[in-house]
């Protein structure tokens, strides 16, 4: 299942490290990664594949949300289909 992870918040050191470490621990493959500053907000978008993951998407999301709280950023995980359906015909 291809899933989009978005990380938004104030830029600081270690955001990418923490998030990718978490994904590595769960066995999630990162397929693409894109990082930008939009209106002073750090925005990172990752395309990941949950197919080979060791844990359920609920557990991964819970873990990511915990990290988000620790480092003060919003982390979301959404099935890629939602964006394809809304923005592509």
């Amino acid at each position: 299942m291809r899933t989009i992870i978005t990380v938004m918040g104030i830029d600081r050191t270690g955001i990418i490290a923490k998030v990718s470490d978490c994904l590595y621990r769960h066995g999630v493959n990162i397929m693409d990664i894109n990082q930008t500053i939009m209106q002073d907000i750090f925005t990172m978008v990752m395309l990941v594949d949950l197919k080979g993951a060791n844990d359920s998407s609920d557990e991964i999301l819970k873990d990511l949300e915990k990290i988000g709280k620790e480092i003060g950023v919003d982390i979301r995980m959404q099935n890629e289909e939602i964006f394809n359906s809304m923005h592509r015909i």
Partner: protein
């Protein structure tokens, strides 16, 4: 890969503009639960609903988590109970309502619709029993919703039913007066009732439907308002185009959720209802969309035209985004459930007469309007008759959901709570319609119903 701008746009829609899927509603046929013994029928109904819908709430929550889309309500609609209970020996149908309520609690849905009868041309015995049971059914249950179809373009208006429903609304208000006549918020009177509406309180599972079906209602007034903020001062062609594009995106999301729910629950997908359904939260209002078009307050001159454009553009944008569109599809204008409508009614800009005019061009009708508790039943019947006439002549669904708040009058406010919101009590005309309502009989179907 989808670009960052598109992803953040979707996230903003959800976070800041209240984009959500308003309801996943499972329609369940109860035709195979008919039994001459009412107790046996109730047991069959309970077993069927709790069997079919046992995973509905859980599945809705899973989809919500995996796609990051709030899915606000999970609900059930069933075959009109007058058809199911008619073969039984029951003298009233309150026991059926209690069974539905119990099944709703067991499955975890917040509303179950279908304590209903369709009497647009006449009453069967079971229809009369059902309608007479409505006040007690709504007073003694929490999650059951009731609707009665009293008119269609094909059949005309059953004025005996209109009279009876005015009285039923008053009785329901009296029996639930301790909770500000809340029972009436769960009772809708329809013209041209639709069989696949996922929205409450008017949802029921039509007899033309299959054994079970998944219908989804989308929402998103805040997203439309926000899009219109970016085209301030532009002409109406631009306004319509902007609404269409936004409605397309909203509906595609609804279509995705509907298909996914249908697949996971192994129940066929029915329709997506393209309605802009407001909530009392700031930023989730249909009235504010109309005001964004340039009206100082919703209800002033120009409101009907603005709503007509909105309603039409929502359909045009949405219809391409879904393979099957149905239900009510359009813009809802429930007063108590829309912060902008509440404000407009509160300052006197929005009146009952203007709301009636707006129902000619919106998707439903006079919805969630609080009126004085001493309003005579005949006046409520006449309000219903006017609204049914609009539906009948214009070949559209119209509905009446008014709440005569016992013990309260104009100038006071009533609080229904939650999604049902709050509302100032609006004045009705003081002149009598009693003799008109007492005539009874049937208003014939209009000439344009003769299409065959």
């Amino acid at each position: 890969m989808i670009n960052t701008r598109e992803i953040t746009e979707t996230i903003k829609m959800i976070d800041d503009q209240h984009l959500d899927v308003r309801t996943i509603t499972m329609g369940i046929s109860l035709l195979d639960c008919i039994d001459s013994d009412a107790n046996k029928a109730c047991q069959k109904i309970y077993d069927k609903i709790t069997g079919y819908a046992k995973d509905l709430v859980k599945t809705g929550e899973e989809i919500s988590r995996q796609y990051g889309i709030p899915i606000i309500n999970k609900r059930i609609s069933v075959t009109p109970i007058s058809l199911i209970a008619g073969a039984s020996d029951a003298k009233d149908y309150v026991c059926f309502a209690k069974t539905l309520n119990k099944a709703a609690i067991e499955t975890g849905v917040n509303f179950i619709g279908g304590f209903s009868a369709l009497v647009h041309k006449g009453f069967a015995k079971s229809d009369e029993i059902l309608i007479n049971s409505i006040p007690e059914a709504l007073a003694t249950t929490e999650r059951v919703c009731s609707s009665v179809g009293v008119a269609t373009t094909k059949a005309g208006i059953n004025m005996d039913a209109v009279k009876l429903m005015g009285e039923t609304v008053v009785k329901t208000a009296q029996l639930t007066k301790d909770s500000d006549s809340l029972g009436c918020a769960k009772l809708v009177i329809f013209a041209n009732a639709v069989e696949d509406n996922p929205f409450m309180a008017g949802a029921f599972h039509g007899v033309g439907e299959g054994d079970a079906v998944i219908n989804v209602g989308v929402s998103g007034p805040g997203v439309v308002k926000s899009a219109l903020e970016k085209v301030k001062g532009c002409d109406f062609g631009t306004v319509a185009e902007t609404i269409k594009k936004t409605a397309f995106k909203i509906t595609r999301m609804g279509q995705l959720v509907a298909q996914e729910a249908s697949r996971r629950l192994n129940v066929p997908f029915g329709i997506v209802d393209l309605s802009l359904a407001p909530t009392p939260e700031i930023g989730d209002s249909v009235a504010y969309i109309l005001e964004e078009m340039g009206l100082e307050k919703c209800g002033t001159h120009g409101t009907t035209a603005a709503l007509a454009l909105l309603n039409d553009a929502v359909k045009k944008g949405g219809v391409m985004a879904s393979s099957y569109v149905g239900g009510l599809s359009g813009a809802f204008i429930p007063v108590s459930e829309d912060a902008g409508m509440i404000a407009a009614a509160g300052c006197g800009a929005l009146t009952l007469d203007k709301l009636e005019a707006m129902t000619c061009v919106c998707s439903v009708g006079l919805d969630m309007i609080a009126i004085p508790g001493d309003t005579p039943a005949s006046t409520i019947s006449a309000i219903i008759a006017d609204e049914m006439a609009i539906g009948m002549i214009n070949q559209k669904t119209t509905a009446v959901r008014v709440v005569p708040v016992i013990g309260k009058g104009v100038g006071e406010t009533v609080e229904f709570g939650g999604l049902l919101g709050y509302a100032p009590i609006m004045p009705v005309h003081g002149y009598s319609s009693q003799e008109f309502v007492d005539r009874g009989g049937r208003i014939p179907a209009p000439i344009h119903s003769l299409k065959n």
